[in-house]
Subunit: 340 residues, 2 copies
DNA sequence: TGATGTTACGAAAACGATTTCGTTTCCAGT
DNA sequence: ACTGGAAACGAAATCGTTTTCGTAACATCA
């Protein structure tokens, strides 16, 4: 078993002081050429690596960033996470991932677990529980301590911090406009309750598109699931009782499930009914027919979030100016909507 | 901006020594009741939390575990990660995630990034690049330093450490046996080159099942993709030139893509051709028809890996005994195979 | 020769917490 | 009154680095 070696060992072994070793390894001009070479050679030989923990303690910088997301088995979040990882790693940062599981309590616990100096800043998407409860004190505490925080996708305007979102409203607007241009008359929306910020915005965009094209906004054409979990019964009932020729869904799973349902009823996609789903994920790509999707640029979002956070972490000045970056969604057309 | 408070601040403010504060906050019997109360109250008031970095330095324990996986936008790995998270968090550990991107170099870099005391141990699945190169010196270095390491799914027997795998061979065997029992004669295998340990084992299981049932093992029925990335052209050519009535695929995507392809050619699933895929992920569940899958118990795998690692980390003794846990796969039957 | 300047290195404080030994004070026991 | 021993607290070392500030030895210059 090879021992891990410290400055002290090198110093003792070579009969010099710890400070000399430290400086020599940093190639300081202060140290004589001979001594430097000797120390560097020794360090290389024994594969010396500075202890990160000690360095962190000294610098008050951990080079770790904490990411708290509601769920990891979810294409969009993993995509964002990849973006974060990419940028962070390139800058020499590590990413500590915590899952809130859509629960307020877990979100709080996770934040506290990281709050004791383990990280230099947070990147988060709010859990459904937190948004429902509308309680952001745990975020406030963090920002009040001056720890940088970047919120993405699921954000709140009750907290002053940097944010990255896509224009969810515009995404829905795009989709519904496409439906209308294709001559669809009964455009349904499958979404969740409005406490999720993204659902609220998407519903608003849906509504706006209808109104802007002189169509009725009919609550009966909206199915609101209590959460992002699939409610198969609810969806089935909805399609049994509601006549519809286009469906916009706030996530892939609702859309895919609905497609299979109406296909089983003998409807043809996209001739009889067309579909668009939010999140251009793996399901949209591989479903049959392929699902036209509102792409959310998850990876880019992650990169931007990481960049904003690291910029804040590394900027010495305590400017209290926050920025919200809004990414524009695009429609990725596949076979679930007619070609023009 | 609230300042973060340290033992020193409390000590100074209350006119006692740092040691007294430390002990008081740990409810030590050494400290008088009055003093203890005073200190604890003050600490609560100012929301004192011990600095993790300092504690880590003192204890030589970070309570962080490093997870290195090839890809995060991949259902199986995220499932495992969730299992790891669950167990680790419950034990008060944080998880640092690094992505090797299937590259040997990135894997090495990530390991080194964590190797300097940032973590108490590693959980890893080998990257394709590493398995191809067959070079495990970076792992050896780590184990030689006595840092605990648990390998999962993509493992190697060139390294002595704890491992968790599913019985890939048995999974393929199960699937092929099912095909044979259903009367299939031309059973294809879509896999990758054999340098990936899982592909090798699955191919072996496929072969064994055929031989055990007195059927020919025909290389022409095997399509080997160079990597886990989809090779659409290759798959199309394969189905155009090869007559087949059953397909076992080493991952979901190959299977789903193939299903769409043969459906487009007018074949009926499962009447004319049936499909089984490895990894019971989201695609299998939501494809049409639903894809019968070999479930890999990713979450359980993650939990076991985390448990093995934390056990090793926390056991003082330096026993050099390693264990390999083998999970048994199960077949999740859906509509891509006929019902019996 | 004495003042000044380099060069090359070491001592020590600091980061924040833990822990091992003291040390002081006070009181009981004889 | 003297000893012994709790009780309550503090000093200091320690974890491994970094960094500031000395300082010794030697060279330079007027």
């Amino acid at each position: 078993m090879k021992k891990i070696i410290t400055l002290k060992h090198i110093a003792r072994e070579l009969g010099v002081s710890i400070s000399t070793v430290s400086k020599a390894l940093k190639n300081s001009e202060e140290i004589g050429a001979e001594t430097k070479e000797k120390i560097q050679a020794f360090a290389k030989l024994y594969n010396y690596k500075p202890n990160n923990i000690a360095v962190s303690l000294k610098n008050r910088r951990t080079k770790n960033i904490g990411v708290i997301i509601p769920d990891i088995v979810h294409h969009f979040f993993t995509t964002v996470l990849r973006g974060i990882e990419n940028y962070a790693n390139a800058q020499g940062y590590n990413v500590i991932v915590c899952l809130s599981d859509e629960s307020f309590d877990k979100e709080v616990i996770n934040m506290e677990l990281l709050a004791n100096g383990s990280i230099d800043g947070y990147i988060m998407a709010l859990s459904a529980g937190t948004q429902l409860r509308n309680d952001y004190n745990h975020l406030k505490e963090v920002t009040e301590q001056g720890i940088p925080l970047v919120l993405f996708d699921r954000v709140t305007d009750q907290i002053d911090c940097d944010k990255v979102v896509i224009n969810d409203r515009e995404g829905a607007y795009l989709a519904v406009t496409k439906f209308i241009e294709d001559g669809r008359k009964k455009i349904a929306l499958i979404t969740t309750e409005d406490h999720l910020s993204v659902s609220r915005d998407r519903t608003a965009g849906y509504r706006q598109a209808l109104l802007d094209h002189n169509m009725d906004f009919d609550e009966k054409l909206i199915l609101r699931s209590p959460s992002m979990e699939i409610d198969e019964k609810g969806i089935e009932d909805f399609f049994n009782t509601t006549e519809v020729d286009a469906v916009l869904s706030v996530n892939e799973i609702f859309a895919i499930h609905s497609m299979r349902l109406v296909q089983a009823k003998g409807l043809r996609i996209p001739q009889d009914i067309s579909f668009i789903g939010f999140t251009d994920g793996i399901l949209s790509k591989y479903s049959s027919p392929g699902l036209t999707a509102v792409a959310q640029h998850g990876e880019q979002m992650g990169e931007i979030a990481a960049q904003m956070l690291i910029d804040k972490v590394e900027s010495e000045k305590e400017e209290e100016t926050y920025e919200t970056r809004v990414l524009e969604p695009v429609l990725v057309e596949r076979q679930s909507t007619p070609k023009n």
